[in-house]
Amino acid sequence: MKTRTGLAFLAPALILFGVFVLYPMLTAFSYAFFEWQGTSRQGFAGLSNFSALVNRAPFKTDLPTALLHNVLFFVGTMLVQNTIGLSVATLLHRRARTRRMLQTLYAMPYLVSPIVIGYLWTLLLSPTFGPVNQLLTKIGLEQFALPWLGDPKTALWVVILVSVWQWVGFPVLLYGAALGGVPEELTEAARVDGASHGQVFRKITFPLLIPAIGTVSVLTFIFAMEAFALPFAFGGSTGNPAGSTDFVSLLFYRSAFDSGAVDAIGTSSALATVLFLIIFGGAMAATKVLRRHERRMAS
C-alpha cells in the first residue's frame, strides 16, 4: 500500500486518539512539573513533585506497599487465571455440544459492573451474615470460616480471586481458540507414537500456546497495574483493612481529590506519570522476552 493511502486510512483514528487521549494525557503528565494551588497552576517545579513521592508521607510509605500489591495482583492473577483458563479450555476442547454455552456462561461475570460485584461478594463473605462462612461452619469446616475481607492475610487474595472469577471467560475463549489452532495431525501422530496425554500437552500443545499466553500476560500486566474498580469496591479508597488492599490507583485517587493538600494535583500527576512509566517499561520488557522466545522457537 502506498504511504499516502495508508495515512489516509489512519487519519481519522489518529485525530480522534490525538485530541481526546494523547493530548489530555500529555497535559496531565506536564502537570507533574508545576506547582499547584488547588486547580490553578503556578510556577515550574522541576522534579520536586517526583521527589515528594520518594521523600514525603504518605507516598514514602504507601507507594511501595501499593506497588507491591499491584505486582502481587499481577502474579496471582497470572498463576490462577492462566491455570484455570488453560485447564478449562482443555477440558472444553472436545465438548462440541456444550462448549459455546459454557464459554458464554463463564464470561457472564464480566458484564456486571465491578461495584456490584464488590457489593455482592462483600455480602457473601461477611463474617456476620455471609452464607459462605455459614456453609463452612455447617459442613464442619469451621476453622476455614475466616473473616476473609477483614484479615490482611486473606483480603488481597480475595480481591485477586474475585477478579479472576470476573475475567476468566477471556482466557478460556482465547486459549480455546489457540487450542483449535494446534494441528491435530501433530498431536495424533504423537499419540500413535505412544506419548501420554500429559506428554503431548507439555511437548507439543503448550509451546504452541506460548504466543497466546504472552498476549494474555501483557494485557493482564497492564490491567493489574491499573487496577482500581474492584479494589475500590472491596476496600474503599484506603485499601481496607489496614491498607492491605491498597493499590497505586487508589493512592492516586485519595491524594488527588480527597486530601486537604493544596498541591495535590502536582504530586498526584507525578504519581500518574510514574505509574505509566512502570507499565510501559514492564510491557516492553515482557514483549522483548516473548520475541526472543518466538525467535528461538522459529530457529
Binding site: P12, F20, R94, A96, A177, S249, F276, A283
Partner: protein, 308 residues
C-alpha cells in the same frame, strides 16, 4: 522501534480467521471412535465445568431474584428466595428513577461510541497491517502505548479540553471521548486479524481495478467480522457501565446515562434494596442480550478458525 510492543508479537494469535463459514466448523464433530476426540476428563470434568458455571452465574441470579422481593423481606434475609414475587420494584425504578430516559441516552452514547471507535480503528488497523514505511511502525507504537495510558487519571485535562470545545453537557462529546479511549485496544486486536489475511486477495482485487477503499470495504471488512464483533463487545461493556465521565462531563439530568441515573437512584433509595436490584437488572439486561448474540458471532468465527 523493535523494542516496542507491537500487535504482531503480542496479539491473540489464536483468533485466526480463515474466512471460512461457520458451517465448515461443524465437520470435525462428526468424527467418532478415535480416543483422541473424546472429551478430556469425562464425567468428573463435566460436573466441575457445570459447577463452575453455577458459580459464574450466581451474582446475576442473586440480582434477579432479589429484584422480585420486597425490601422488608430482603433486609431480614439477604440471600433468601422470593417466596411471593412482586414487580413493584421494577415499576418504581422505571417511573420514579426515570430509567426510560437514561436507557435511551446510554444506548445512544454507547452504540455511537462503539460504532465510531470500531470504524476508525478498522480503517487504521488495515492501514497499519498493509503499509511498510517506517513511520507506520512509529504510529503503531503510539497507538499501542495508548493501551497503557491510565486515561481516568487525566480527568482534569479532559475536562478543560471539553470546556474549551464547548462540549460540556454534550452526549456527542461523551461518545467521542469513549470512542477515542477505545482506539488503542481496537487497533491492537484488529491489526492482528488483518495481518493474518493473505495479501493475494487484495492483489486480485487491484488487478480487477478496485480502489483501495473498495478493496477494504468489500473484501477485507467482511473477512474480519468476528474480530469486529469481539472488539465491539469488549468495548461496549465498560462504556455501558462507566459513570465517571458522564458525571464530570454532563450537566442536564435529561442527558444522564444509566449508571449515573443508577448512582443517583442509589443515593435516594439507599435502603430500598429491591428497587436497587431492579435498577441493576434493567442496566444489565441489554448487556446480556448483546453478549448472547455476539458470542454466537465470536465463537462461530473462532470455530471456523479451529476447523482448519
Amino acid at each position: 522501534m523493535t523494542t516496542t510492543l507491537t500487535a504482531a508479537d503480542a496479539a491473540p494469535t489464536g483468533l485466526e480467521t480463515s474466512g471460512a463459514s461457520g458451517a465448515s466448523g461443524r465437520r470435525p464433530r462428526r468424527r467418532r471412535g478415535s480416543s483422541a476426540s473424546d472429551p478430556v476428563g469425562g464425567v468428573g470434568a463435566s460436573i466441575l465445568l457445570w459447577g463452575y458455571a453455577v458459580l459464574a452465574l450466581a451474582p446475576l441470579v442473586i440480582m434477579v431474584l432479589n429484584s422480585f422481593r420486597t425490601n422488608a423481606d430482603f433486609i431480614t434475609n439477604p440471600l433468601g428466595l422470593p417466596t411471593s414475587p412482586t414487580v413493584a420494584a421494577y415499576k418504581e425504578a422505571w417511573t420514579v428513577g426515570s430509567f426510560g430516559t437514561y436507557f435511551v441516552n446510554s444506548l445512544a452514547v454507547t452504540a455511537g461510541a462503539v460504532a465510531i471507535s470500531t470504524a476508525v480503528s478498522t480503517m487504521a488497523a488495515y492501514g497499519l497491517a498493509r503499509s511498510r514505511a517506517r513511520i507506520f511502525r512509529w504510529i503503531e507504537s503510539l497507538f499501542l502505548s495508548g493501551l497503557m495510558l491510565p486515561i481516568h487519571l487525566a480527568i482534569l485535562p479532559v475536562f478543560f479540553l471539553f470546556d474549551g470545545f464547548g462540549l460540556i453537557d454534550s452526549r456527542l462529546g461523551l461518545a467521542l471521548m469513549y470512542a477515542a479511549a477505545g482506539v488503542p485496544f481496537s487497533i491492537f486486536v484488529l491489526t492482528t486479524f488483518f495481518r493474518q489475511l493473505p495479501e493475494e486477495l487484495e492483489e486480485a482485487a487491484v488487478l480487477d481495478g478496485a480502489s483501495p477503499w473498495q478493496t477494504f470495504w468489500r473484501i477485507m471488512v467482511p473477512m474480519v467480522r468476528p474480530a469486529l464483533a469481539t472488539v465491539a463487545v469488549f468495548r461496549f461493556v465498560p462504556i455501558w457501565n462507566d459513570f465517571l465521565y458522564p458525571l464530570v462531563l454532563l450537566r442536564s439530568e435529561s442527558k444522564y446515562t444509566l449508571p449515573v441515573g443508577l448512582t443517583n437512584f442509589f443515593g435516594e433509595n439507599a435502603t430500598n434494596y429491591s428497587a436497587l436490584f431492579a435498577g441493576l437488572v434493567i442496566t444489565t439486561i441489554p448487556l446480556i442480550v448483546l453478549f448472547l448474540f455476539a458470542t454466537k458471532q465470536i465463537v462461530a468465527g473462532l470455530t471456523a478458525g479451529m476447523s482448519k
